[in-house]
Symmetry: C2
Subunit: 417 residues, 2 copies
């Protein structure tokens, strides 16, 4: 089954908001066997919204719309849908109760403008929004369905998970699509594609490999569709195993994950703790680790030693080492990793020092040069890397690679036990 997504909002067209909703919705729908065949973004204009809806209804049976449900007067989606489906308004008492409670809990007065969010088109089924003020709306229309939800991502996600997906499953007959995804690191897409060429040519027609590059990682997703998920899994198994084997030199994880998440999981499984000494990554490692709920049993913390004085003061890097080798060097990152590990008493430590640019590069150490050290009680592994791209990209690439370096150390130590 195909579906389309329509996102509404001038802010999307003028580019002041990045649309993350469509990607999330695409993933969720795809997982249940619905292919999003098109996504359209239009402005806060009644004619544009109606036209996009007409076109989508002509192509597919399910249309998901987000945005334009805020309380302010530039948001006109609800009014437009009321006209489109030729109905009046009703006050939804459950929504009104929820609004009253929500505002009292936040210590704010419920204004007329907020109360109006409980007024819904008569033609729709209400989809409660426990995370915010604008409810979702489900319209059945000549055997087709339109779902309208607010554009605030966590409200949209909440409504989708609790109300939209269950109702879709009930109302539509869906095929089965299975995916298996692995993640590789530090190999260019073209080189990898060359290596996998003959394997890919031998894939059955209903099996498809997708390359999903993201900086220095690529997720490879193998997909198949049919009716019986068990049979699909069995049929995919040998192809998947060959793929895994061919990717082994660059493999970060045999799953759809990020370097940081995979690293956190590996540490958690071992009951091991981590500390960080970041120079060029500037807190990005710490930040990404702390986004993971419950990470406090793994991550003790660390030092962002941006200035050299912090490398000596907080991390005990000997000043002569800095003078002799420079901050971006093997001996300095080794000392940073070893010292933060000892000072915090963690099992493992990561240290980074590099030149993220755009300034600060030299002939000997051009922009993109990054030294990474990972340390355990037994050993310290240092490595020099050369990344390219913008400042942000170099920081991200170094962050991912630091996790890979630690994962390799963890593997080695598991083998040596």
């Amino acid at each position: 089954m195909n579906a389309e997504i329509i996102t509404v909002g001038d802010e999307l067209l003028i580019g002041q908001t990045v649309d993350t909703n469509s990607a999330w919705l695409g993933t969720e729908l795809n997982r249940m066997g619905i292919w999003v065949s098109r996504r359209t973004a239009v402005g806060d204009r009644a004619d544009a919204i109606s036209a996009a809806l007409n076109e989508a209804f002509a192509r597919v049976d399910l249309v998901i719309m987000t945005g334009g449900l805020g309380p302010t007067k530039d948001d006109i989606t609800k009014k437009t849908l009321c006209e489109y489906f030729e109905c009046g308004y009703r006050v939804d008492e459950a929504v009104l109760n929820h609004l009253t409670q929500l505002f009292s809990k936040r210590g704010r007065r419920l204004l007329e403008i907020n109360k109006m969010q409980a007024e819904l088109p008569e033609a729709c089924i209400t989809l409660m929004n426990n995370m915010g003020t604008a409810p979702g709306m489900w319209f059945d229309y000549h055997g087709k369905v339109l779902v309208s939800m607010p554009g605030v991502p966590y409200e949209m996600k909440h409504i989708t998970e609790t109300a939209v997906l269950p109702r879709i499953k009930k109302q539509f007959t869906l095929p089965t699509i299975i995916h298996r995804t692995l993640t590789v690191i530090n190999i260019p897409e073209s080189a990898l594609s060359k290596e996998l060429e003959s394997w890919e040519l031998n894939l059955p027609a209903d099996m498809k490999l997708a390359y999903l590059p993201q900086l220095n990682t690529i997720r490879l997703r193998l997909s198949a569709s049919g009716r019986d998920s068990h049979a699909l899994e069995q049929r995919m198994e040998p192809y998947w195993n060959t793929l895994l084997e061919q990717c082994s030199p660059y493999l970060l994880a045999a799953s759809d994950t990020t370097a940081v998440a995979h690293c956190a999981e590996a540490l958690l499984q071992r009951g091991a703790t981590l500390s960080l000494a970041e120079s060029c990554t500037g807190g990005n490692l710490a930040h990404l680790f702390t986004l993971i709920p419950g990470i406090s049993s793994v991550l003790l913390g660390g030092v962002v030693a941006y200035a050299n004085e912090l490398k000596t003061g907080f991390l005990g890097v000997p000043a002569p080492l800095l003078t002799e080798h420079g901050a971006v060097s093997g001996p300095v990152v080794a000392a940073m990793a070893e010292n933060i590990r000892k000072q915090t008493g963690s099992d493992y430590a990561i240290a980074t020092s590099g030149i993220a640019g755009p300034g600060g590069g030299t002939d000997q150490k051009p922009v993109g040069t990054v030294w990474i050290a990972v340390a355990s009680a037994q050993q310290t592994v240092i490595k020099e890397w050369h990344f390219y791209g913008t400042r942000e990209h170099i920081i991200e690439r170094a962050t991912n690679t630091a996790c890979q370096q630690l994962l390799k150390l963890l593997e080695t130590e598991a083998h040596n036990r």
Copy 2:
């Protein structure tokens, strides 16, 4: 003038890639007076690409397409355009030279699959891509224009800035649109809209206010369009001044900025340095500051004191203070900020400690409770905040608010001089 954006790629529809290109393109086009009236995302399918292009050409004179130009066989945009414009291929020698140099610089062998990226449709003008392997293509077609560029964001940006925008300016006659944007913090959209209601009703018909909320900040953008930018600026001036005045209690900046960027700018202007002691924000402040090029003259670094042992060990927070008040308390953040400032010798310091959730909340200190301290040589200002939302949102809200708190301290000290 209107334009449309078409993004190509299964990864966009299945949701494994978030489309940041459209937002960036929307901003750039809008700035030069081109209104992006619609954005469409389609999969890597020839019929879908052609259909979207046909529809867009029926509505507008300029279509920008990104994606589907990679070297792997799932990328079919170039082949599809060649068929659409009914032409053959030519080898572009300049592109071939560039590819040869690029691969030799990266120490990689130029494969056949890479060489093919120099084969371009005869109907297009080449737009050089100095940041990557797939060049951009400009097609003139019955008085209309299609631009096709790779989907890799920094490559697309480079081609747009160096080749696409200059060529658009030359080929089309454009009106003038002016925008002024301010940023407010920690006021709900509905409350703000209520306060601005009468001001907004008095706006002339050709002037428009847009609310662009993002977590606990809202950017307010006032726009006007016409021919003469100087006349427009003069006409907007009084409305803008009244808006600024009405927003003053919540004003973060009289510009389109982020809390961290504005804070960094204020410190840079004063020649002041900053250090950070982060618990609940877990390195996010450090990370966002270090994304700013040249920040090393402002940011010395800091400690991510996630575990209490790091609060005592690295930050010298007295253990009895932690026992008596808990880690999430005024006295503890005050000590964290004051100590990191003294230890690093920075002019200012920020400290955060809170409960980002989803676990760890209590009745006295529910999830979302965050204490923030900002310290200078003269004073320390502590404040308790209550944020809502997911773990990530609470971290982001705390990060923004910490910057606001420091900005207020900087203002106070400027007044007291």
